[in-house]
Amino acid sequence: MWGFLKRPLVVTADINLSLVALTGMGLLSRLWRLTYPRAVVFDEVYYGQYISFYMKRIFFLDDSGPPFGHMVLALGGYLGGFDGNFLWNRIGAEYSSNVPVWSLRLLPALAGALSVPMAYQIVLELHFSHCAAMGAALLMLIENALITQSRLMLLESVLIFFNLLAVLSYLKFFNCQKHSPFSLSWWFWLTLTGVACSCAVGIKYMGVFTYVLMLAVAAVHAWHLIGDQTLSNVCVFCHLLARAVALLVIPVVLYLLFFYIHLILLFRSGPHDQIMSSAFQASLEGGLARITQGQPLEVAFGSQVTLRNVFGKPVPCWLHSHQETYPMIYENGRGSSHQQQVTCYPFKDVNNWWIVKDPGRHQLVVSSPPRPVRHGDMVQLVHGMTTRSLNTHDVAAPLSPHSQEVSCYIDYNISMPAQNLWRLEIVNRGSDTDVWKTILSEVRFVHVNTSAVLKLSGAHLPDWGYRQLEIVGEKLSRGYHESMVWNVEEHRYGASQEQRERERELHSPAQVDVSRNLSFMARFLELQWRMLALRSDDSEHKYSSSPLEWVTLDTNIAYWLHPRTSAQIHLLGNIVIWISGSLALAVYSLLSSWYLLRRRRNVHDLPQDAWLRWVLAGVLCAGGWAVNYLPFFLMEKTLFLYHYLPALTFQILLLPVVLQHISDHLCRSQLQRSVFSALVVAWYSSACHVSNTLRPLTYGDKSLSPHELKALRWKDSWDILIRKH
């Protein structure tokens, strides 16, 4: 028990100096003069506003990715004590003194710097030589595009970091698997794989591609494990269970956790509220919650309500009516009923108030006790300000001639009787006797005479309708569609009999008290769904590019230009590395297919272990490139060069693998091998030279003369900014 006292206490430390040196160089290249330029560079303008929202705890919705990425950036702001007060409106704007530029840019830069030693580790774990591993890390080190991207407040370098971390930890885990399954390090690396994958997904949806690759590799390895008949059934089951927990359950839980923190952090209402449902908005502090707090929950006959369309496209809006009538004859010659217009109006207005009336009685106030409205009840909707009731009839709607016109009925004393009875259907009801609830219930109004359904058509009315949105009665109600569903947003029990009094009442804000809360899952699901469904209009951008241009680096992005001199920052890769990476990929696929065909005919060119190594390296590196690149061909959104960077890192990992393979297996004699090594050294020096030449465009620290800039424009398609004086 006291044995440890008998022996001397010894600490042996193995320090891989090359790893330390690589980390040091990585940090130096990424952190050098990090605060320069002290101005908003390119997409910082986009991420910055979200950081400000985080600092001010204001809710926002961003469809570009899950919240973890924004949170990582915001963490930098938090550490630097950023108060969020900066107007992110224009690229090139000078940062004010309250913006901690260094700490904002620190985390992406660290992630970029650590990718360098990680590349070394990955190649080593793939069982390639120390030399090849050094090569991979050195290539990462001098890749200009990676440097530029990591030195700014952008997310790609963080994404690449987690991608590499996932690959590295899976390899470590896989190598543990052979000699010590279920050991501590085995568990550690397995869990880390899952964590890194979910972090990658959390930063950008693009991370899913690497996650899928890791899952596929793990599935193939698990399949081999199942086939291993030396293991007992229980053992195999434990292996599978551990993998399922680490690679499926942990990522899901973490992903939920990101949203949980996101929603905890952002509790104030903000500019994106309108997109969310009323219930969601009510859960935020300020905004709608201020209005709805204290509203009665159950809608009763006599209630005064505003009705919001659940679909909310093209804009969220409320059922509205006003004094004006439909024009007698439309532009295209069709006639209308000339009754009072009913529209959908995207702003809060006193004309959005409607009174739920019992068709059997005449009063417009809530009786005591209130009689709640239930599913299937017949109601009339009376417009609060004009006391006309919602009506539809067999007249074509102004813009959607297949549907019925909806109006507020004016009795012109002609043979067109009022048809103002609506049957209430609660869509999300629990049972048929459900009560109509404020905010929570989603309801449809089905016209009793024609069984048309009250619907937002989405079309904008012309000038006579003040460009408000058209409301129609949809005769062919095929199934459920959100544009036919409404919910009560503001609500109060009407108390005044007199029209004047009621008008005053409508103008005043509602008050009483009931609190309601959405569960986290409900909020998460809604937020996630809105993020995926949100389609930002894909506009053409000056620097957008197509995936085909990326492989050969036919395009660049100008990130920043000094306001006075011609110092500038570009996202521009090291063209030697890009071209040779693509070449390496081609060589790899040719060699692989050659080997595969020969093996099929039972000719084994490579020893078994070399072959397995070659295949695993290819699946991870070439596969990583493919999954991170090819899906872009199917995407319809605006694409930029920086979307290629994750794929590029995998290509860089493949390069030394292929080079070493050529040297080991294809060079027959020692002489050939020496010549090849010399060639590789020459090639690497040229890459260094290119990197050094492009350095002014990477760091933007040196103002070049127009002549020098022109000399750097190696491809006609590169857009390098030259000031005209």
């Binding site: 399949w223 199942i226 086939g227 008949q229 059934n233 195999v236 959607s400 297949h402 549907s403 005769k475 062919l476 109600s477 095929r478 199934g479 459920y480 569609h481 506009s539 053409e540 951008h541 000056k542 065909l597 099929r600 005919r601 039972n602 199917l634 319809e636």
Partner: protein
């Protein structure tokens, strides 16, 4: 169409290497067809019983086919008016317009041919769904589609029989398809789907057949089925682009096949090479040749100009008789003073156009609109002038001066005498581009009217050649390029397309133009015939137009489109005809019993398939019988599941408008899977309970109850397909009252 290779089964047992219908599978299957008592005994059935058995198989096939035809042709003539998409189809195949150009081809030719033979005169103007056919003979066309649609059932029957070697599985599949109201409805109208599905199933059947001939390579049946696969593929691709999926499936199957042969060291490389060549010949060369041949016929038949001309490029139009470019003779090279029309090279953009209307208030400068317009019009005419003089170049005293690459020119609109003009105002729709307007009075404007003309393909020298030169117009002051964004302007722009000047100098077809009409009295006219594009070019272009046309399909007013996830759960049908309770209503909806059974089967298949696969991978020793059944499940079922996957999941990636009927090819595969799965599962059950005296009955009872269940559900739901009159299903008086199981069904 011979039935399953009943005799071939016994031989397949001798085959050592092919597993697809390997010995176990064959054994398992023979057990079913042979006298049940002889199941485990080694003795073979006698000659007489085999002949009897073969006759039985033929009879069963005949029965299945007959039933299929009977259901498809029953009440084919109703309703006597146009249903849903029949509008589009009949329009394009009516003999009157037979030779006018349209965007779709061979299926229309087939339908058109059927209509022609049955006396349809093409005088009926197809306008909108619900129009009566009256005395027009439409039965020929409907009958043709129903005829092809009827073959689906026997094809599926034979495919499943070959994959599973089990009559009961095949019968179950046939029943599912015969009694599916959706398939039935789709086959009864003049639509492309029955034709497409016919070819898909034919390709699948012949592929399966040729797989089972693999033990006798290069024999006559082997060649027959291989080339038949190729022919069917050509047909499938010719009908719709959905045919690509079956090509993919056959391709994957062939690659796996070749990979297998390549690894067989007993075969020499020469033999493998022969195999490869045979497949290239039959599966690539033959279909391509047929496909191109149909196109050639199509172009020969449809050689007259029609309303769709504007979609095609100038050179293409030149070969349509009736088009003004056909056999026209116009001056070859552009000179100053020429009156021209300028066409965008991108398909379906049209001609550079201007008219006497200004951009409305608030949208750029209030100057004259410049748009692109798809139809031919006097407002498409522009005069090409020198930038610095306004003198009339047509004055005979001036020598002819040709326009050259790099010249600075001015384009004057002929009708309004305004110059093509651009300036630093944002374009109406594409905000990052500059606005293009018509400016100036009688040709006098400012320096913003100057454009540099550039020829992109300079193989014709520096002059600008009519029709063939691709030109770009670069605005001199701002350096932007004239282009069309392809976006439709609002009402103020008469819904023509937006023209902008893009500051991004990327080379896209949107900013490249060619000169189409050219009038210049001072130049000699040359015949345009020499300019006609070659056949491959025509082929390519018509495909581009079709692809663009397909992706540009917008949902019609008031038409609900559906999402791919709706389909397998039969969420929503498609209204073919009739709305109100007095109308004759036809509603395309799958038989819910069949569809939900299919859905359940897919889940069950994945479950049982993975259990068996894991058991095999763990090295479990399966009894011979179970091993045979699992082979059927994994291989036969796997093929069909692949088919379902390939015909279903790509739709999730498609941006175009999708309808319910797109799922039906996948549904065919799904039904085949159901047949194979239930038959195998019931057999496994029966085997597992072999000690129990009634075990044998389980299989028979199970299959029978499934057959009767589908038949009964068809009896319930048949009004959907054959049409119904009377109150809607919401109404308790309706005969369909209890059958509206989902709220989203609308009949």
């Amino acid at each position: 169409m011979p039935p399953a290779t009943g005799g071939g089964l016994a031989e397949s047992e001798l085959r050592p290497r092919r597993g697809r219908c390997g010995p176990q599978a064959a054994r398992a299957a023979r057990r079913d067809v042979a006298a049940e008592a002889a199941a485990r005994s080694p003795k073979r059935p006698t000659r007489g019983s085999r002949r009897f058995e073969a006759a039985g198989r033929w009879a069963l096939l005949a029965l299945v086919t007959l039933l299929s035809f009977a259901t498809r042709f029953h009440r084919l003539a109703e309703p006597p008016h146009i249903c849903w998409r029949e509008v589009q189809r009949t329009e394009e195949s009516s003999p009157k317009d037979f030779s006018s150009f349209c965007l779709f081809f061979s299926p229309q030719m087939l339908i058109g041919l059927a209509g022609y033979l049955s006396g349809y005169d093409g005088t009926f103007l197809f306008q909108k769904p619900g129009d009566k056919y009256e005395h027009h003979s439409y039965m020929g066309m409907r009958g043709f589609c129903a005829f092809l649609g009827s073959w689906l059932v026997p094809f599926a029957y034979l495919t499943v029989l070959d994959l599973s070697k089990s009559l009961s599985a095949a019968l179950l599949t046939a029943a599912l398809l015969t009694f599916d109201t959706g398939c039935l409805t789709l086959s009864q109208y003049i639509l492309l789907d029955p034709i497409l599905m016919f070819f898909i199933m034919a390709a699948m059947l012949s592929m399966v057949k040729y797989n089972s001939c693999a033990n006798r390579p290069f024999s006559a049946p082997w060649w027959f089925w291989l080339s038949l696969t190729g022919v069917s593929l050509a047909g499938a691709l010719g009908v719709k682009f959905v045919g690509l999926f079956i090509i993919l499936q056959v391709g994957l199957n062939t690659i796996a096949d070749l990979w297998y042969l390549f690894g067989d060291l007993s075969l020499s490389l020469v033999t493998v090479g022969k195999h490869l060549t045979a497949r290239i010949l039959c599966l690539i060369v033959l279909p391509l040749a047929l496909y191109t041949a149909t196109f050639a016929v199509h172009f020969m038949v449809l050689s007259k100009s029609g309303p769709g001309d504007g979609f095609f490029s100038s050179a293409f139009q030149a070969r349509l008789s009736g088009n003004n470019l056909h056999n026209a003779s116009i001056p070859e090279h552009l000179a100053y003073g020429s009156v021209i029309t300028v066409k965008n090279l991108r398909m379906a953009i049209g001609y550079l156009h201007s008219h006497r209307h200004l951009y409305p208030e608030g949208i750029g400068a209030r100057q004259q609109q410049v748009t692109t317009y798809l139809h031919k019009d006097y407002n498409n005419l522009w005069i090409i002038k020198k930038h610095n003089t306004n003198s009339d170049p047509l004055d005979p005293s001036f020598p002819v001066e040709f326009v050259r690459h790099g010249d600075i020119i001015r384009l004057e609109h002929k009708e309004t005498s305004r110059n093509l003009h651009s300036h630093y105002h944002e374009a109406p729709l594409t905000r990052k581009h500059y606005q293009v307007t018509g400016y100036g009075i009688n040709g006098t404007g400012d320096s913003n009217d100057f454009w540099r003309i550039e020829v992109v393909n300079r193989k014709f020298g520096n002059r600008i050649k009519v029709l063939r030169s691709r030109i770009r117009l670069i605005h001199l002051v701002t350096g932007c390029v004239l282009g069309s964004s392809g976006k439709v302007l609002p009402k103020w722009g008469w819904e023509q397309l937006e023209v902008t000047c893009t500051p991004y100098l990327k080379e896209t077809l949107n900013s490249i133009w060619n000169v189409e009409d050219h009038i210049n009295p001072k130049l000699p006219n040359i015949s345009l015939n020499v300019l006609q594009p070659s056949f491959p070019e025509i082929l390519l272009e018509s495909h581009m137009v079709m692809i663009r046309g397909n992706s540009g399909l917008k949902p019609k007013d008031n038409e609900f489109t559906s999402k791919p996830w709706h389909w397998p759960i039969n969420y929503q049908g498609l209204r073919f005809s009739g709305i109100n309770d007095t109308d004759f209503r036809v509603y395309l909806l799958g038989n819910p019993v069949v569809w939900w059974l299919n859905l359940l089967s897919i889940a069950l298949y994945l479950l049982s398939g993975s259990i068996i696969a894991i058991a095999i991978q763990r090295g479990a020793q399966l009894p011979a019988e179970v091993a045979g059944l699992s082979q059927v499940l994994l291989r036969g079922g796997g093929q069909v599941l692949l088919g379902w996957t390939l015909h279903y999941f790509p739709f999730f990636l498609m941006g175009r408008v999708l309808y319910f009927h797109h799922y039906f090819p996948a549904m065919l595969f799904s039904s085949m899977l159901t047949g194979i799965l239930w038959d195998t599962l019931l057999r496994l059950c029966a085997w597992g309970l072999a000690s129990w005296p009634l075990a044998r009955g389980i299989h028979v009872v199970g299959i029978l109850s499934l057959l009767l269940g589908t038949a009964y559900s068809f009896y319930l739901f048949h009004p959907l397909a054959y049409g119904m009159v009377g109150p809607l299903a919401q109404d308790p008086r309706s005969p369909m009252a209890g059958l509206r199981w989902l709220d989203s069904w609308d009949f």
